[in-house]
Symmetry: C2
Subunit: 408 residues, 2 copies
């Protein structure tokens, strides 16, 4: 007998039929003797409908009141899910974030969980109930309803699993696990049975949209065993996210290939090479709340340096204006340019720690296809390159093949 937290997203509760099929799955786990906590999102489309209603009244809605409205989406789903379980003869009880109480800070629309009172849920589980909890929402110390921001239901699931010391937190999505790369780009992409937490973090932050990054971080912090599964398939064990590295010989060097089309590159050319240049360039960018991803600085022979970094495409023009208005004259840069026709491709794997030559194999593979590398950034378990956007699919495909990630 295990205590399992199962989290179902918006498409898994999109309508009464889907909710009934969710309930049938929970019933199968319950029949095996497990204690189950179900965390549900709002029915798909519902959150957007509620936000639209709010915006019809106020273009930039007050966040406290927006949370009051938006949190009703999950509240409807928990009631429906509890009813669907009862209809199958299973004792079930729903909880809003307030009822649990999932205590958060007061940062409306992007609150962070401070603590979870697990007492009542534990009591209900011991009394044989399946407990159904609204994802994405909490309550602050003054009783105000808060939401955790988009995708926050994953975080609710992981946080509940941590608070309840659950044996496993299962995240049901519309994919059946984490793949070596996006199967829409590489049809041979293979589902991973297991992936380390750090690899998952890199894959998620690099644009593999399976899990919300925050929930993965949370799972890592509290050592929650996380499993990604499909809510549309009866069979399959999904992908388990582990916190220990597997030291067996079978361990592949590379676990997966992530990519991202959302970034733009900004280059500051011909800056006099003096201490403090990086701060002078990036300080005003950070003050304007523009997130920076990769940063590269190369010193040239003539005593000047070229400084390149990437931002989200939507913020390229904002960043360019800031640099031209506030920075260029000040630091004496020769030229400032932006390019949003780029893509980032990363190879990820804890195995590369103990293998040499991974980077050179990656660069050779790309060179053989005539793909020019514009930027390189590395971490212990990842090598990311920026290439021309038009080469994205080709780069992912040849790397997938070069590192033998195809299905056996």
């Amino acid at each position: 007998m295990a205590l399992i937290v199962q989290k179902y997203g918006g498409t898994s509760v999109a309508n009464p039929e889907r909710i009934k099929s969710l309930a049938a799955r929970v019933a199968r786990y319950k029949a095996l003797g497990h204690q189950i906590v179900v965390v549900v999102s709002a029915m798909s489309g519902e959150t957007n409908r509620l936000i639209s209603l709010a915006k019809e009244i106020m273009q930039d809605p007050d966040p406290r009141e927006l949370d009051v409205m938006v949190s009703t989406g999950e509240q409807v789903t928990i009631g429906m899910t509890a009813l669907a379980l009862m209809e199958l003869g299973i004792k079930a009880k729903s909880y809003t974030g307030t009822q649990v109480k999932i205590l958060t800070d007061n940062a409306h629309t992007k609150a962070r969980i401070l603590s979870i009172d697990e007492h009542n849920i534990k009591q209900d589980l011991d009394d044989g109930y399946v407990v159904v909890v609204a994802g994405f929402q909490g309550v602050d110390a003054n009783g105000n309803i808060t939401t955790l921001g988009r995708g926050g239901s994953d975080t609710t699931g992981v946080a509940l699993a941590a608070a309840l010391k659950a044996d496993e937190c299962q995240i049901y999505t519309d994919v059946d696990g984490v793949y070596t790369t996006d199967p829409r780009v590489v049809p041979e992409a293979r589902r991973l049975n297991k992936i380390t937490f750090e690899e998952m973090l890199e894959l998620a932050s690099q644009g593999s949209k399976v899990l919300q990054i925050r929930s993965v971080e949370f799972a890592g912090k509290y050592k929650v065993k996380l499993r990604v599964l499909s809510s549309f398939e009866e069979e399959g064990d999904g992908t388990l996210i582990t916190f220990e590295e597997d030291n067996t010989m079978e361990q592949p060097v590379i676990s997966g290939i992530a990519f991202n089309r959302d970034e733009a590159k900004i280059t500051v050319l011909g800056v006099p090479d003096k201490p403090g240049i990086a701060y002078q360039i990036l300080g005003p960018i950070a003050e304007a709340n523009v997130d920076v991803d990769m940063i590269i600085q190369n010193t040239g022979a003539d005593g000047t340096t070229d400084f390149t970094f990437t931002v989200h495409k939507n913020e390229m023009n904002k960043a360019l204006s800031i640099l031209r208005d506030k920075v260029q004259g000040h630091i004496g840069a020769r030229e400032i340019s932006g390019d949003d026709k780029i893509a980032k491709v990363s190879i990820v794997g804890v195995g590369m720690r103990s293998h040499v030559g991974i980077a050179s194999q990656m660069f050779r593979t790309l060179a053989e296809e005539g793909i020019n590398i514009q930027m390189i950034s590395t971490s212990e378990i990842k090598i990311a390159v920026v290439v021309d956007e038009k080469y994205l699919e080709l780069a992912v495909r040849v790397l997938h093949k070069a590192f033998e990630l195809e299905a056996a």
Copy 2:
């Protein structure tokens, strides 16, 4: 400066435009220096939509979970209403029933209010906020969400007015007050500027559907000054419901005429006239949870008695079966019959206490039109008669004229 509770029903918050117009009205009251608490229902149609969703899952939904779902209707409206007020530059803050805390018993879907914690609302009012409260909902001692049943938003308004010792509770509806009778039947019907609580109670229970009976009883118990107004008209003072009788000469004898097409008549003929007959007949009816309205017993010359009572039309067949199966043989009644082609017409007025001859004037008026009276029931401020359904409109019209209730 007064403290005013304003309650708006579903049609008054049916869409963002209506909510904006509601906010504009609140703004005008606020500009006069009043403190305002707004109580809102769900957008019209929303409660039914949520009930339907629940029924798609479970035909007879568990009441606790149904309340979880249905209460989201008002929760969305309070957020929208607070936003609409903010958009007009007014400080506003919404409260769910749980947040207020409107403590109820645990009778889900028909809970009763036990107490209201007015502390936070008072503080917000003193800080210059308009406070927006979700009608129809509360929370039980264990933190479960409850609802007060259909129309319960009126009760929320009155209960809040009582707890806050408000100067007035204004109920905004789609009519502009209480009329001498239904203007669809008698176009000359006149809006009453003032009506006593007892008259209102009789008019409401007799089928004038302006206010929910429970809220009127509540207002009477806590001496809340209640005013019915139209949310679709800018002008007009509506109808004030008072708790003192006006002893001026102008006091009309009759305040209004109520009617009801929803009842059916059941007659038990030729019952031996012995003590305990009424209980033997009505006991099994009450046990089956069938509500009885009028009851009449006439003793005949032959030592038998005829016993007649009315029930809701929907329950006539159920009542007839009970009587035929369990009662008729037992008490030796000659015949049991039902008639659902009847209507009840009542004249209501505190003035009739001090005037003789009101009943005879009513009966003469009906006789002159050839309308046969099948049953009569009287109280201190009301005389009700049952007539053939086809005479309903005629009876209401001639009585309205006979008692000079037309607009001046």
